[in-house]
Symmetry: D2
Subunit: 372 residues, 4 copies
């Protein structure tokens, strides 16, 4: 239990560092019979890839996945699927200075405290590079979710700095709206302003935080467990497992702190009377303040959550810090970094949402043996 495995029935184990030879994942538990090839993994890998636009890191990685097992004659066999993605554009020389100095906001110090040794090249295991194989694994999960229940997963950037999109019906956002611009914000006009802000920040040798909304629709009611493994809890964990996420909220989120019970709860209604599309059953809620889960179990309403993502700490300004002996010094992070993590965060967040949902769908299937 050293922390590199997620899920109970659809299990993803990952390995790899930012500047080592490769990242690898093993997906254990994928049902047999799913059509699958490397081509299925590519679209989301391309959305996650650095170098995709002027507002992302300039690191060049092909991110071409190789499936090493678990697929035979174009179909999954039920045995573990190993996926290998080699690192290419590593430029380890960029990182030599930080071997002995702790970058503020990075995991250098906490890794040293934990292990007494660390691969200091580019963040090593703490780098977002590790999410390549999560995204590859989740592409399988997304395909399964869609084939089994028509479940659709979409994420979008809803905030960059002070520019905020308060979408009234986030569960209706479509993938093509999101992919229409490099920021991945479905409001084209706002997206253009966000893009200008990110470019400005980059020129200032700075970075900026933001937020993203993640949605899953057509999720059947009944997923999640009542106590510790609430769907909400497992989704919260999955999102907080992504680099740079400092806040997660579901449905109405932090706004509930000021709400009264008489206003907050969503009334149940027959599905055809609900204002919320995409309810798979005959009972729905009139509104979706609850974000698709009650008691931690899905209601059939769209699942809606938001993540707050910090500005990357890798900026080329000189900042005070200490070295390994605790002596004060200064450090500017060189290398190629994203001035705003949000555009590339979207496919990562979608990946985590998909991985949690497929796992709970399988768990629910196992528990439903006495139901026809």
């Amino acid at each position: 239990m050293a922390g590199s495995t997620l899920g109970t029935l659809f299990r993803v184990s990952t390995a790899g560092e930012s500047h080592g030879p490769a990242n690898v994942c093993i997906v254990d538990g994928c049902p047999a019979g799913l059509e699958l090839s490397e081509a299925d993994l590519l679209p989301d890998l391309l959305r996650r890839r650095p170098g995709q636009s002027t507002i992302t890191s300039a690191r060049q990685e092909g991110d071409v996945p190789e499936i090493l097992s678990g697929v035979f004659e174009g179909r999954t066999t039920g045995t573990p699927i190993a996926i290998l993605i080699r690192n290419e554009d590593q430029r380890s020389r960029d990182y030599s200075e930080i071997a002995d100095k702790y970058r503020p906001g990075h995991a250098d110090f906490s890794f040293d405290a934990k292990y007494g040794i660390r691969d200091h090249r580019g963040g090593g295991r703490s780098s977002a590079r590790e999410t390549t194989v999560r995204v590859a694994a989740a592409a399988i999960a997304k395909k399964l979710l869609h084939e089994l229940h028509g479940i659709e997963i979409v994420g979008f950037v809803d905030q960059v700095g002070d520019l905020r999109l308060n979408h009234p019906r986030p569960w209706e956002v479509q993938l093509d709206e999101v992919e229409a611009n490099p920021v991945r914000c479905p409001d084209a006009e706002l997206a253009a302003r966000m893009q200008r802000l990110i470019e400005e920040v980059r020129k200032d040798q700075d970075s900026i935080g933001g937020g993203a909304t993640l949605v899953a629709r057509q999720v059947p009611a009944g997923l999640g467990e009542p106590v510790f493994d609430k769907l909400r809890a497992d989704l919260g964990k999955a999102m907080f497992s992504l680099p740079a996420v400092l806040g997660v909220e579901f449905g109405q989120g932090f706004a509930v702190a000021t709400a009264r019970g008489s206003e907050h709860s969503d009334s149940f209604v027959p599905s055809q009377e609900s204002s919320i599309l995409h309810a798979p059953g005959k009972i729905a809620t009139q509104t979706n303040r609850h974000g698709g889960m009650l008691g931690g179990i899905s209601t059939g309403m769209p699942i809606v959550l938001r993540c707050a993502v910090k500005p990357t700490s890798s900026i080329p300004q000189d900042r005070p810090t200490v070295d390994k002996e605790g002596k004060p010094t200064t450090l500017a992070t060189k290398g190629r970094h994203d001035p705003c993590l949000l555009p590339r965060f979207v496919p990562m967040g979608e990946a985590m949402l998909a991985l949690v949902l497929i796992d709970h769908l399988m768990r629910h299937q196992a528990q439903s043996m006495l139901r026809d």
Copy 2:
């Protein structure tokens, strides 16, 4: 993996419903040799208990724990510790109407969707009554954390409706400040206003949401795993596993969305130069915007997180809903409920923080075999 077990080395499994005979937990993995008796479990059980003040539910429960195993001659033996807490004041008659109608904001509908059957008395397994045994188990964790590293855990209410405490140094709050008033807010004047607001809301036959901050100090650097089992991720899951939590944030939290990298990161300094007390090592950060973890691993700085808790959906007003067949009807929740969950939420949140920390402390211990 049906969701009622938490932890990998310090494992807590729970069972029980709101109106069944009892709640039980099994704590497996507690190190041998800890002095322990039922008296150690009582203080937090009393803080969690209903009926403790005029602003909590009037249900009367003694919540007297019985230790059934794992303790011999006043010390833990290393074998599983089972704790039994019988339900006493169940009044099942209060709940007869909701057998066929779905309470808005409750888990009645999602449980039926999941299981096709449910114990409708008082929320059954989804009731906060289930947290009694979590709090009992966590009392053991707290005692271990304190004996091993002097770790202190304290939570407090920071918001009730629009009344908000923005504490500049939340990691300095002391338990006696929190317990000085029934709201559990360390600002006495604000607490009095919060109490009046809660009483007002109750008279309106309504409920209100709020927020709580949870702090752990003296946590050694190095706890947590780099990828999926980040300390932040496991804490996030633990908090979202509590009833009514719709938002969780660490350190600067959602405010990072508007921050720039040049402002957000906390500089490393020698411990004696830090403005943050309670750093156990020689390297500290100057400020604590990061909330005590970087890369998901503890830094030695105090761990600080916040939860948003919704207003309870159990209010005695008539509201529209549907019955099991999906036919529109109305329902008012009778029974005894908290007009504001926050005062009793504090010991529950502390419990989850303690359970996650002891588990990661033991995981870290196992991994450190090659270090002297």
Copy 3:
């Protein structure tokens, strides 16, 4: 992961010592909708109980189970089922001498080495008393297995000392044949001789070992995982988790060491041509040397395994040993013990077989989502 939980989807966690207040288990993951009451647990508890005949321990225990949760109006709700069995006839005074001396063949020394402290009364956690709640949990598993697939589980004593039953078709043995005599050997004549041998051994103030066969029939093909969690591997673990088991073999077992490949393998045939009854599918094997699993996955043939059980080490003869300081001394184990563990081992072995099968049945169900 402190070792008191078994299973991945149908999970049993146990707690309790031989002379503590009670033994408890939590069964998490039982599908909702199964009719269940304490009466379903009693028959196997009575078969396991001490004091049931002249050839078992004289300890008197009612072993009356109380279901504390997870059952509502006579049906399982899908939430954890907690079962409490209080200890009654504890007679702790019998065990005072062994607080400081290590009984040969017992776990006293290894527990002290592990924990530095131990509940020395009657073996504490290492006592077979702990299997009460396993047997209770497994009664639920047996009921599920039978309702879902008509799976039948039966065990019998096949050896006491030199008296050995080589049953040619063990998979045809019926429960009533087994229960027809206190030894639980389906050959009445041999059973009578076994009983005389056990009584003789008891008079000699000694104990004797033996063997038991365990069978499951109507198990569908396809259960088990290819690599580490082979059905054979999980069954092997489950059997070795019972006290006193020093050998486990499947099908032809240790006899394969002298077999040639041309003789060992069972030919596949259409089911109607097989000599083995109880094959649920259309393809069967002609013979059942393989014991019902190939590649660790069930074939639909009856599962057949054997356990070797050591003579209990608790005998009232003076034997050399050491005390806690390592100083030589002698010790005779007083108290009430079974001169031969086998008759009471049968329901314990059946319990483990049932628990592993239901878990793998649920795992298989979850993996079969893409199959109609």
Copy 4:
């Protein structure tokens, strides 16, 4: 939980098929700071490799491992270690006939029953080829065990057909005695006879079963858990997870069935008076019938177990079977196979022993926090 992960703290996940591109494992939880390179993995891979002598399969595989992560500047970093071993000499054409016919004694039929699809080339996931990466992972475990406690692990062939070595002191066998001949039997004269028998069997187009003993010495007392995760239980599972193992016994093993309690138990004595070498503590047993564990927990005495391994079912004789539709047919297994699995089984058995021991050593470390 699809079965391809072993261990709780030192976790090994594997992927790969006999004739796919590669086998891969991820070792998660290895403590940081261990010197490690591919050279450490090679010796056991060579012992496991086909083509190493005239009595093993002629398949030619370099089995050269590539470490993809978790090692930096020659030391483990505490993060997951991924190991890649590509398949080279696959000759898929050898296996075309068995796409539609079920080989007797193989997992073809049970895989089809489980998954409805299978990689039929050479056994796919059920092939012993999968053990390459287990052996590689275990080489790390062996190194850790030796560095931490001087623990030595050695296995040897003790039986081929009727030729049986009853070693009086198996715990004293040394690796060089084992490696002195291609059979891996430490009795040179018997080994020569075993080799002749295997060659004879091969000429007969047949195969033969056998047995192997596995020993671990210098294991500290106190490893293992009292109930389900007894060290004995986890070792039993690990051995039964290897292909072709139909029996496992510890210490005196199946012979206990005829033993009396007065003879079976090993007396405790001061270590210097014991006839058993390699006891790390001050208390030992006089003899080692118990095989190094009592109550499932290690005693400090050498751990001794035996496995019965069936003759491979892959023999080039025509045998009756059925095809996928259940129609009778015949089949002779072509391809290159071991006439006796035992010589190559030795490093596989050692691997499983090492993996279980390191995991329990780490678990014990985590539990011992309150002991100085």
